[in-house]
Symmetry: C2
Subunit: 260 residues, 2 copies
């Protein structure tokens, strides 16, 4: 028997920070057929609120350190303000959304980041996803909406990378579903020429990816993102789309389809 | 066939504001046998955060008006910070807690308060509880943890009275469960003499309540609380306990048991 379809969609701060862009995205997401899960990142609201609360962001070589006050702000804004706003808006669009952190239902267990040269503070890497409970929820027509907060099972919450949450959920759910993982970001897809927004690579297989890496067409920020994609495909995800939020529209064919 | 037991426990700010009191309460709550639901109020954290964000609390005759900035603070602290902290802590106590607002899974639908002499702003009164979905979650051994935020189904979140949330959930679930509703507050129970903390009325029936009202033994703040209790009992709740958080301890018999 073939598995049912599941779409796991990740949106980042560029969508969340823009009220009309968020609403337009949610209308498209709500219209998606089949089982679906939304994973959202943070956006600038957390930084703004931290500033208002006189909490200073600490960085090490450009990477944010999550100390306790900053974790509290992340929990307040990601799991509180943003997650519940999205949930209420999806309810208004007749999607039975339910907002989660990894602590809720022990859905995403993580552990404090290890082996890093620097202590990033309350940052967790995913250890396990409770796909059984996610499946139960999906079969109740619930649309899970995940913020990028996880827990260690010992009472501690962690800030976690939203891309990783999306891919680990996608992998864990691939036991039960044919999973289509969609990364929405600020570009229309993986570009052949980073200066040309229209140079979207429409199909990217692992073989093509290797070649483009050798030719230095794919480099810097796109490298870890695509490595994660091929890892997820290797672990059972059916296909991955990378593109703008417009990717969810039925008539849109301009995005990068990543397949094994 | 007899219905299974369900405990609906409400805690207020006095427990939430005190870290060790909260932990002690959660240990007792986690040890409760049978199906259970936790409803929590706000506490002083919201006021503190609002002050830090330079948001001025607006009051009308001693009652708080929830304007938009204050609603955002309520969502951040109640549904974010407090709810996820409690959820993570219950996970550490081997309870599969899942934190909710009313928007999540459309669990509690409300409408903006009507017919009030004053516009209280984003304050909602409960219209419906999705007891079917709550039952599904309970049967998965999920322990729902509700913050006092609801939604109108049209995308708007509302601040809602936590006592009312507890009683409406209790009533809605009484179709499926024998519901024991427990209100934890700062006293040991309903007192015969408000000056004497030990004068707890151990059993309170509607008949006894009527008499005590006539004798002016029960008055002021306790009146609406008890009216709500008898209303909930009338609508199907089996019994109601009113007392300190210690009420949850197995060997504690000092609290007020309210029955029809």
């Amino acid at each position: 028997m073939s598995k049912p379809q599941l779409s796991v969609v990740k949106i980042g701060g560029n969508v969340i920070d823009n009220e009309s862009a968020l609403q337009a995205f949610l209308v498209d997401f709500a219209a998606l057929e089949g089982f679906k899960i939304l994973v959202h990142g943070g956006g600038k609201i957390a930084t703004k609120i931290a500033e208002s609360l006189d909490i200073t962001a600490i960085f090490h070589e450009g990477r944010r350190i999550t100390d306790r006050p900053m974790l509290d702000v992340a929990v307040m804004t990601y799991a509180g303000l943003i997650n519940k706003d999205i949930t209420a808006k999806l309810q208004a669009l007749q999607n039975n959304a339910m907002g989660f952190t990894g602590a809720d239902g022990n859905l995403i267990l993580s552990e404090k980041r290890k082996n890093a040269a620097v202590d990033f503070g309350f940052v967790g890497d995913v250890v396990a996803v409770n796909a059984d409970l996610i499946q139960v929820l999906l079969l109740q027509n619930v649309v899970p909406v995940f913020s990028a907060i996880t827990h260690d099972g010992k009472g501690q919450l962690f800030n976690t990378n939203a891309d990783t949450i999306a891919s680990t959920i996608a992998v864990a759910c691939s036991n039960y579903f044919n999973v289509n993982l969609l990364y929405c970001f600020e570009k229309k897809g993986v570009l052949m020429d980073s200066e040309n927004e229209e140079s979207v690579i429409k199909n990217l297989t692992f073989e093509a990816y290797r070649e483009l890496c050798e030719q230095k067409v794919i480099h810097s920020g796109m490298l870890p993102k695509l490595e994660n994609c091929f890892d997820a495909l290797h672990k059972g995800v059916s296909q991955i789309g990378i593109g703008s939020p417009e990717m969810l529209k039925k008539d849109n064919s301009i995005f990068t389809l990543v397949t094994a």
